[in-house]
């Protein structure tokens, strides 16, 4: 359906997209994952024909974006990072205008607009000026604009930014609903979103493709980081003493504890090793009862951070001493997510 080959975009000396290639099949939802400035928006802008690439080709349904721009643009609906809205128009006027420039037939226009307003839940706002809408509603009007004309491909650049949790769920439902008849590409830096919605995940960093797979396969790809989180009743010193005797533990980190007399620790061991029993017996020996124990599963966040960090490590060829630090940073993010 969509085929991107060797895409390169240069801004002077800076390379925003670096030989990116991927394909999207009909009816798929492709998630574009990457840190800020990874080249997500640039890639989307190129696919939609807003920008040109320095090199490489993009074809949609076998049609090249540069050779037949008007045909390709007919097949694509696009919600850019900032929804392209005219503040002085009402929602209805705006959607009418969009339907007109997207060449929706006059006879179908009225019905299509009311259907789309229903789907994006903006019917109540139809006579309000866009400048008076909240960010969440503006985002929905932007989404309505992208769906207008029911194009085969819908490209959404961070569609849930600025929405409240309830709206995020609604928009995700809507995207899933749309994927029945449309091919969708969406970008995000929120991992749960991608794992909740997408069939395929594409991780890019610094314009390069790092990984492409199904979200559920991603962790297999990398192997899990073996590890445990435990809460132990007792003093820090004896607990650490006892744990240090276990050879298979590579690294121990102490986390903040909210309870008096309870130590929270994160233990790291090699991937695919099970140290749960050993930890249990050593704690029994030290007479410090375990209150909680939890295996660390690699979430998409971890995978994402790991992959992007590995890139950095490879690139700068930093010696091995630095690696624990990267693990530490994963840890912090993990904590942050947990706190949320």
């Amino acid at each position: 359906m969509i085929e991107v080959k060797n895409l390169v975009k240069r801004y002077g000396d800076h390379i925003a997209v670096d030989h990116l290639s991927f394909t999207v099949e009909q009816g798929q939802i492709l998630g574009f994952l990457g840190p800020n400035g990874a080249g997500k928006s640039t890639t989307m802008n190129i696919i939609t024909g807003y920008m040109s690439a320095t090199d490489g080709t993009v074809t949609v349904n076998g049609l090249d974006v540069y050779e037949e721009p008007e045909e390709v643009k007919k097949m694509i609906g696009y919600l850019p990072e900032i929804p392209p809205l005219y503040p002085d128009m009402t929602v209805l006027e705006y959607l009418n205008f969009v339907a007109e420039i997207k060449k929706v037939k006059k006879s179908e226009r009225k019905e299509m607009i009311s259907d789309i307003m229903e789907a994006t839940k903006i019917t109540d706002m139809s006579n309000r000026l866009i400048k008076h809408l909240s960010k969440g509603y503006k985002q929905r009007v932007g989404l309505a604009q992208a769906i207008m004309g029911y194009p085969e491909v819908i490209i959404l650049d961070e569609p849930t930014v600025g929405l409240d949790p309830k709206q995020i769920i609604e928009i995700r439902e809507l995207i899933k609903e749309l994927s029945k008849n449309h091919t969708i590409i969406l970008s995000s830096h929120i991992m749960q979103e991608v794992s909740a919605v997408c069939d395929q995940v594409l991780i890019i960093d610094k314009g390069r493709l790092i990984l492409q797979d199904k979200p559920e396969n991603l962790s297999n790809h990398l192997g899990s980081t073996g590890g445990l989180k435990i809460s132990v009743k007792g003093e820090t010193e004896p607990v650490l003493e006892a744990l240090k005797k276990i050879d298979r533990i590579n690294d121990i980190r102490e986390n903040h504890s909210y309870e008096e007399g309870v130590v929270n620790l994160t233990l790291h061991c090699n991937a695919n090793e099970d140290i749960r029993e050993e930890v249990f017996y050593s704690m029994v020996e030290a007479k410090t009862p375990i209150l909680e124990m939890q295996s660390i599963r690699m979430s998409l966040e971890d995978i994402f951070l790991k992959v992007t960090n590995e890139e950095i490590l490879e690139e700068d060829s930093i010696d091995e001493e630095e690696i624990p630090e990267t693990i530490a940073s994963e840890e912090e993010v993990d904590e942050d997510v947990r706190d949320l």
């Binding site: 802008n45 939609t48 024909g49 807003y50 920008m51 040109s52 008007e70 045909e71 643009k73 007919k74 694509i76 696009y78 850019p80 900032i82 392209p84 809205l85 005219y86 503040p87 002085d88 128009m89 006027e93 205008f97 969009v98 007109e100 420039i101 997207k102 060449k103 604009q145």
Partner: protein, 287 residues
Amino acid sequence: MLGIYKKELRNYFTSMIGYVFIAFFLVIIGIYFMIYNLFFGLANFEYSLGAVTFIFVLLIPLLTMRLMSEEKKQKTDQLLLTSPLSASSIVLGKFFAVLTIFLIVMAIVCTYPLIMSLYGSIPYGSSYGSILGFALLGGAYLAMGLFISSLTESQVVAAVISFIVFLFTVLMKGIASIFPTDNKTALIVFSVMVIIICLLLYKMMHNLTVSIVTAVIGIGGLLGVYLVKPTLFDGSLIKAFEWISVISRFDTFSVGILDISGIIYYLSIIFIFNFLSIQAIKKRRWS
């Protein structure tokens, strides 16, 4: 194109600029009409129009400044450029919308000679001929303003640059008459112009060979002509500046002559600047 046209036209009337422009334009023309035609009793409406050409400098930037720049600033150009519209239909839709506002003024002005006809016999031909010329002159300024607006993201910058350029076209005639007429100065000035154009080319395309080749061909051609037939340059500087001076072409209309070459001149200016605006939009993809 029709969608863009309707949107722009609606925008002029929801944002008041349309009303302000029409009202202000009519007030100024009305004042001159009163003084020349009603108080002094001149039957020639073209004299009044000849005297009010300066208001283009003040009013056209007001109308054109936001046409393209605002789209870029609000990022709505992403909607337009990713929709199945061609760059030319975007530009032409906008141009015809802004032209419509101006033609509303012209339509009202068309009734003035009829008002005068109540008091005596009126030379309709020269009156309406000059209104036609005036409308074309306005169209040329609108196309220029549209092009300038497509170069920047800021309405203010667009307005200021348009104002300066328009002012220059008005003052050009006066400036041109003080230039020396000898052919050496003409050669130097033209060469400097070629160099400036090449620098602009380099800035836009970042291609050194193209700019240098253009410069060499341009200056070489000028030198060649100078060596072979230097008399060609006699007084050419003044002619060139008068040619750029959009407003001086209206002089023939304002003395009651229907100047076909003037009509063609204005139509070409309109065509060239619309073409340049389309190119400016297309080029944006590549930057």
